[in-house]
């Protein structure tokens, strides 16, 4: 069998979303997928602890969300598209979220782009 992911090799600064990561992030991902509905988003905004308890998030996972620690949410198994959903609750868009993962300010990040107006 050709292993498509080359076991033992890794891509720098990359956390491939495989079944191991998906298992680790199941609570985070279930919560985020539940946010695909306006009523659920309102419920989450009004009582985040209650919703995080309902999805059985660990104390560490809750802290990552409340701290808006997007990079470590990814490392904890949050799929990036689900992390984007959670960030949107805090009015954080994809590019600021990305800048934070890079350890840059949003403005610094935009300077690295070809056409920074295309947001």
């Amino acid at each position: 069998m050709v292993d498509q992911l080359k076991p033992g090799k890794s891509i720098k600064d990359t956390y491939v979303f495989d079944l191991k990561m998906s298992e680790r992030g199941m609570r985070i991902n279930r919560l985020a997928e539940w946010l695909n509905g306006a009523e659920n988003r309102e419920a989450f905004k009004s009582d985040m602890d209650a919703v995080m308890d309902r999805f059985e998030l660990t104390g560490e996972e809750k802290k990552l969300i409340l701290d808006n620690d997007w990079l470590n949410l990814v490392k904890a198994g949050g799929n990036i598209y689900n992390v984007v959903r959670i960030a949107a609750i805090f009015d954080v868009g994809l590019y600021p979220l990305g800048a934070q993962q890079l350890g840059m300010s949003y403005e610094e990040f935009l300077e690295t782009r070809n056409e920074k107006g295309a947001t």
Binding site: V2, D3, Q4, L5, K6, K9, I11, K12, D13, T14, Y15, V16, F17, D18, L19, S22, M26, N29, R30, A32, E33, L35, N36, G37, A38, R41, L71, V74, N79, I80, Y81, N82, V83, V84, R85, A88, L94, Y95, G98, A99, Q101, L102, G103, F109, T112, R113, N114, E115, K116, G117, A118, T119
Partner: protein, 281 residues
């Protein structure tokens, strides 16, 4: 008899949908992208006279969940709702399906091709499908063509191999060509191009790779079929592995199909590519 009249490879970057909804297509930042699609739209509607489009796309944990995430899923409904992806529902009419053609494709794939797909009687569609529709078949109160959605898992590994995606395209072609009604069908492979959205490698772009890919999808798709997911992700970014969905389009076209349009624009974090093809006369 039904025919494949066009193949399209296109990015499905979600910010394009937001630009359409806010009418910003002619701003200096976006005009280079939208201008490239104008001749494509005319070609598809007036010359190729497309009636229905098979859209190969991935659901971004929106209508499907990672708890149950089909490797290949085909829609078999007369209508597909617009999904809420976590940010509200876009102001778009529901997508129209072609139930009879979908049902034929499902039967053909399962009985003749050993592609045991998940068949969806209900499917809400999201940017993976809608952005390519915005670009190639824009709605004006209703969508101008019917849609057969084909969803591929390109997010939760193990995902199908590049070669398997190509073979799905060949199987779809045989499905269309064995359908006894006169329908002009386009096949659209969506996603990419280079981009990575997660980790400290956020913003990784590789325009050299993207242009190589545009060359090869036209002239030598087997070069891409031979790549592992690791190779694709290393070159083009982890989220760019979705480019394997372009191979499904290419597999549905003849080996000597001709390229008609090509464009590339990489303003922010994702290489936005476009290619169209038609079978040689």
């Amino acid at each position: 008899m039904a025919m494949i009249v066009a193949g399209i490879g296109t990015s499905h970057v979600p910010s394009i949908g937001a630009v359409v909804d806010s009418g910003r297509q002619n701003t200096p930042e976006w005009k280079p992208l939208f201008d490239a699609y104008e001749p494509v739209r005319t070609w598809l509607s007036d010359e190729r006279k497309v009636d229905a489009v098979i859209v190969i796309y991935n659901d971004h944990a929106c209508d499907f969940s990672f708890s149950k995430y089909p490797t290949f899923a085909v829609g078999a409904a007369s209508e597909y709702a617009i999904a809420d992806e976590g940010f509200g529902v876009r102001p778009l009419p529901p997508v129209k399906g072609d139930l009879d053609l979908s049902a034929h494709i499902c039967r053909h794939l399962v009985y003749e091709e050993e592609f045991d797909i998940t068949i969806c009687k209900e499917m809400a569609v999201e940017h993976g499908l809608l952005v390519p529709m915005d670009l190639c078949f824009p709605q004006q109160g209703e969508w101008p063509v019917k849609v057969i959605p084909v969803q591929v898992n390109v997010l939760q590994h193990p995902i199908p191999t590049a070669l398997r995606c190509f073979k799905l395209g060949a199987a779809l072609r045989r499905a269309v060509e064995s359908y006894d009604r006169d329908v002009n069908v386009a096949v659209m492979g969506t996603g990419g191009m280079s981009h990575q959205l997660h980790g400290e490698r956020f913003g990784h772009l590789n325009s050299d790779f993207d242009n190589w890919f545009l060359d090869k999808i036209e002239s030598d798709p087997q070069a891409i079929c031979g790549m592992t997911h690791f190779d694709l992700m290393e070159q083009a970014g982890a989220e760019a592995v979705e480019l394997i969905m372009w191979l499904t389009m290419r597999g549905a076209m003849t080996p000597d199909a001709q390229r008609i349009h090509r464009n590339y624009y990489a303003p922010m974090t994702t290489g936005m590519g476009l290619i169209t093809m038609q079978d040689a006369a």
